[in-house]
């Protein structure tokens, strides 16, 4: 008897059985790469190589190859850092926070979103590492290791150091959460594998998973606790990143709205990037039955909510700047809107405040083309937001004789391309060798309508 729930639409459409799920999701992993994958991979590796030239020049010549100066000490480097970290937060939100809220719709999208998080955090970590100049020393000097300088310890009072702990913890915990979810799926691939090498590799990766009830019970426990740990972690990581600015005395930076504002902004840009990636992935891998319009609509709703919070934060900033009566703070905002970087400010406002509001219209939030275009606009807008915050506040702060302009050099752009190349190369490799949707979880939500899912 076929019983369809009147209240909820099925999350997985197309009347799939469990065997179909295994087949659909393992097909990409087991077969030869498709033409579009090869083209995309070639492009990504080319971008990575071009970017690597900049990265190499940077390491050889030093940070002077960027457009930074005494006044504007941070520009594209830290903008890119915050942008990538922000993008990474959506993945953890989808996996962890939506798990805690028992939102079953997360199951089709969490694997790809978490992979995106991991690659985005690696891209993010590149920037503080490279911007230190002597990367070969900096990567371990930032850690509290005993040393021969009288055991000189790091400054634990500084948010720049808190970042070191926060980003490394965030990366490791996300990696572990992602991997635990992958173990049963690797077992699925292992058991379907026809050639010996595949079987050995996926067998090793699956750690001997058999699917017993005791193991599943522990797996569920671990997932729940990791979700519970990852949620405050996400909030804390971007809060700590925002404190890189908020704990300073620079006008436009020294405000307590930054932690919640940055976290909301991170979720906002992160979901936009998840949408960009998933819309392409579902089309190329024919996963429209797993990542449905319903999923896209729900993600767009989150984009309106977080976009609106960001908009409210902007208004709060203006109000407090005016209300405080502090001339330097007030000037910081007037300069953003009317000074030499007004064009960046306008881009930011249009893309972040105005454009997500169109998602109130149902037709637009269920349209794939509109969602794709808007997801890219939102990401561009959020890049400009970080650029505006960093550069406009630095280039004209307290003493007018120090005021200066910042102009990016080709190596600023090149380093950014390097991070893009890495991100897309890593994501494409992931989509080829690992299942992009969580196979086991999706099987558990198949029968919301009582249909038999096995033969």
């Amino acid at each position: 008897m076929h019983v369809t729930s009147q209240i909820r639409e099925p999350l997985i459409t197309g009347g799939k059985t469990m065997a179909d799920v295994s087949e659909d999701l393992c097909r990409q992993v087991e077969g030869k790469p498709s033409k579009s994958w090869i083209v995309a991979f070639t492009v990504a590796v080319s971008v990575l190589t071009i970017g690597a030239i900049s990265a190499g020049t940077l390491l050889w010549e030093g940070v002077g190859v960027w457009g930074l100066n005494k006044t504007v000490g941070w520009a594209w480097d830290i903008t890119n850092f915050v942008w990538w970290v922000g993008i990474g937060h959506a993945g953890t939100l989808i996996s962890a926070v939506l798990l805690l809220f028992r939102q079953k719709w997360r199951m089709s999208i969490n694997r790809a979103a978490e992979a995106m998080t991991i690659f985005a955090v690696i891209c993010a970590a590149m920037f503080p590492a490279f911007h230190m100049g002597r990367l070969w020393l900096g990567f371990y000097w930032a850690l509290p290791l005993p040393n021969t300088f009288g055991s000189l310890w790091v400054n634990f009072n500084s948010p720049l150091l808190w970042d070191v702990f926060a980003i490394s913890t965030y990366f490791s915990v996300s990696l572990v959460f992602w991997y635990i979810g992958l173990v049963p799926d690797f077992a699925t691939i292992r058991d379907r594998a026809k050639n010996k090498v595949s079987k050995m590799i996926y067998g090793g990766l699956s750690l001997g998973w058999t699917g017993g009830a005791k193991d599943w019970s522990r797996y569920e426990s671990v997932s729940l606790i990791l979700a519970g740990l990852a949620t405050p972690l996400v909030l804390s990581v971007h809060t700590i990143v925002s404190m890189d600015f908020a704990t300073s005395v620079i006008p436009g930076w020294h405000t307590t709205i930054f932690p919640p504002y940055f976290v909301a902004g991170a979720i906002f840009s992160g979901f936009a990037m998840v949408l960009t990636l998933l819309l392409i992935t579902r089309k190329v891998f024919h996963l429209e039955d797993y990542i449905t319009i319903q999923h896209i609509e729900l993600m767009n709703i989150i984009i309106i909510v977080t976009g609106s919070i960001v908009g409210i934060a902007y208004i709060t900033e203006f109000f407090i700047a005016w209300y405080s009566g502090v001339p330097a703070e007030q000037y910081a905002f007037i300069n953003r809107a009317t000074g030499p970087y007004w064009w960046a400010y306008v881009s930011m406002m249009t893309a972040n405040v105005v454009s997500p509001q169109v998602f109130w219209i149902k037709k637009i939030r269920t349209s794939i083309v509109a969602t794709f275009i808007l997801s890219i606009i939102v990401n561009i807008g959020m890049w400009f937001e970080r650029f505006v915050i960093i550069v406009t506040s630095l280039h004209r702060d307290y003493v007018p004789s120090s005021w200066a302009m910042f102009y990016p050099t080709k190596h600023d752009v090149g380093m950014y391309l390097f991070s893009f190349g890495f991100f897309f190369t890593a994501y494409l490799l992931f989509s080829k060798f690992f299942p992009v949707v969580n196979i086991a979880e999706v099987k558990s939500i198949l029968n919301t309508d009582g249909e038999k899912t096995t033969d």
Binding site: F156, F165, G211, I225, L226
Partner: protein, 151 residues
């Protein structure tokens, strides 16, 4: 089946089935307790490290504040707590479930990870005969009943 006194060795499934733990009489996992203990270790470790480094070993006046003040220590303490809790729990999970990259698992049926559910009964551990258990399984709706030998 348990009501009839048959000892079930394990139930295998392609995904986690809610509620099966009560049916099989499994106690709740102690992994959450493990993660709490690891997290507590993380907190203690972090605070000890921070207070000894900033308070005793090389105290400095930073920003006009105390040598070792708790508020700026919170972020690092929190991060180390989460790090140790997560990793400790995951490694405990691997040890408890005997998961390791070089494992040679005893797969009762390779279709379990695709779409089949299996109830495994160890005939040696049960007092009922093979045929009785066979009948019970078939009456419960099993699509296949196989007897296999493992050493």
């Amino acid at each position: 089946m348990r009501g009839e006194g048959v000892k079930i060795q394990e139930v295998y499934s392609p995904y986690a089935i809610h509620g099966i733990d009560e049916m099989l009489g499994y106690k709740m996992s102690r992994l959450p307790m493990a993660s709490f203990l690891f997290g507590l270790t993380g907190t203690i470790l972090a605070l000890t490290m921070l207070y000894s480094m900033m308070g005793f070993d090389w105290p400095m006046i930073i920003g006009g504040k105390n040598f070792a003040a708790l508020p700026p220590f919170i972020p690092v303490t929190f991060e180390l707590t989460v790090l140790l809790a997560a990793f400790g729990m995951v490694f405990t999970f691997f040890v408890a479930s005997d998961l390791k990259p070089w494992a040679r698992p005893r797969m009762y049926d390779t279709r379990i990870t695709q779409d089949k559910f299996a109830v495994v009964v160890d005939l040696d551990a049960n007092s009922k005969s093979k045929d009785e258990i066979d009948t019970m399984l078939r009456n419960a709706g099993a699509s296949e009943v196989n007897a296999k030998n493992f050493n």
